[in-house]
Symmetry: C2
Subunit: 241 residues, 2 copies
DNA sequence: ATTTTAATGTCTTTTTTTTAGACATTAAAA
DNA sequence: TTTTAATGTCTAAAAAAAAGACATTAAAAT
């Protein structure tokens, strides 16, 4: 049982994670739904232990939800301008579920602790969606992948956080060669292109996209992908380490 | 007198500011020296009041040190991986100055409060160096502009923070047209170019630089600058609002 | 007044990069 | 063996960036 107090955790500071995945030509975000009366979704969140670095804390939170140990993650922004949007929603949720909190394995002051003003460090993470085993914490009712264009309404400013996270991802995908974190070990050029198209929400030209990627000199061919279709089999590539 | 406790301020969270200025073809940073025995420099720092947003807090801290109200500032990174570098330096400073703290107008628990682990939100600010009236707080001995390449050794990870801030500035100077914040209201094209050369630490070609700037369509001519030299007078430009 | 000087303003040419078009390759079905 | 449909790669066109060249002009020198 985690002791929610300032001896154990850094007070008033949380970490909110936007976990990006990619599947079937769609960019997705992993969003848990809270185990409370009413429909309340939030980004996967957590707090920072006193003896723990913030990246470390984010890694822990992400591992807990995805089961992935070596996850790619990046801090992109702090959200802390009071009042954060619709703090009201959090309160209405707490109001609806007062009794419910008694059943949780938390210390007595948990509610007081939780309803303080929070400043949140935003991280985004990139994962191979096939490697993820979505995992419920004790306050989750369910956890699901949502298309980025079809996110449920989340509490506080979490929908807005996704907008910022996506912007940060777009800025970095190219320059920092992050795309590979969203794909399986081996992938075809078309798959890589479709990923880019999903992230930037615009089409790329096949020939030029391939040239650009190969010119980066970070890809190596590892074979061919025989699909059984009546056409040439594409090469498989993988990210050089 | 500020009450340094968690009723009044957000605990364990600070704001560190890299204040950039530009003068005589040099990019500079405003750095106070602490009013303690021993040579201790730090970035201008402060804390966040409970009823205050983080941008608001940064603005307040910056106004206090520079006297400028409408300052340009941008959050660029959070530093919070424990142990932050040379926390030892802070301790040795406190050790040297135990008695000194009694003379400060602070509450009794100030020392305990200050020596906690801190997570810091990094902001950088851009100012017209001529408009700044550097202002000492009660813990400063002096405050000075240093060339970015000749910064004094600062406590904790503050020198490293400047490296990150400069990187963020370089990424944004162009795309977000920030340069004007570092210059007086009116400036010549050459002055603008020299500013860019100072920030990026590399030369630009006069003709192409001018074309690029004018093509942005954010500059307007406001007259000529008659210098008394035996040559053509340059135009003065100003940033369109 | 006229010429000279030196810095700025602007146009043209060259080079590089990006984008678009065209064609070659090939695994498997017909 | 031919056809199909997707991938791989080369070439041409367009756009952008870099380099070069020359025009303009305020004030000093003549």
């Amino acid at each position: 049982m985690i002791n929610y107090n300032e001896k154990n955790l850094v007070n008033q500071l949380s970490i909110d994670c936007v976990i990006f995945g990619y599947q079937q030509k769609e960019l997705k975000v992993l969003v848990p739904k809270l185990f409370f009366k009413g429909d309340f979704w939030t980004l996967p969140s957590g707090f920072i232990f006193q003896e723990e670095g913030i990246d470390e804390a984010a890694k822990r939170i992400l591992e807990q939800r995805t089961g992935i140990k070596d996850i790619f993650l990046e801090q992109y922004r702090v959200f802390g301008n009071v009042p954060r949007t619709t703090h009201a929603a959090l309160n209405s949720m707490l109001e609806l579920n007062k009794s419910h909190f008694d059943t949780l394995k938390v210390n007595d002051n948990f509610l007081e602790w939780l309803t303080q003003r929070f400043i949140s460090i935003g991280y985004y993470a990139l994962v191979d969606i096939n490697k993820v085993v979505p995992n419920l914490t004790e306050i989750d009712q369910s956890i699901e992948w949502y298309n980025i264009s079809e996110l449920p309404p989340m509490i506080s400013d979490h929908n807005q956080q996704v907008v910022f996270a996506l912007e940060a991802l777009r800025q970095n995908l190219d320059s920092k060669l992050l795309g590979f974190n969203l794909l399986p070990e081996e992938f075809t050029m078309k798959e890589l292109q479709q990923l880019y198209e999903a992230v930037y929400a615009k089409p790329f030209r096949r020939n030029n996209f391939q040239k650009k990627m190969l010119d980066l000199e970070v890809l190596e061919r590892v074979g061919k992908k025989l699909t059984g279709a009546a056409n040439k089999a594409p090469y498989l590539y993988r990210f050089k380490r």
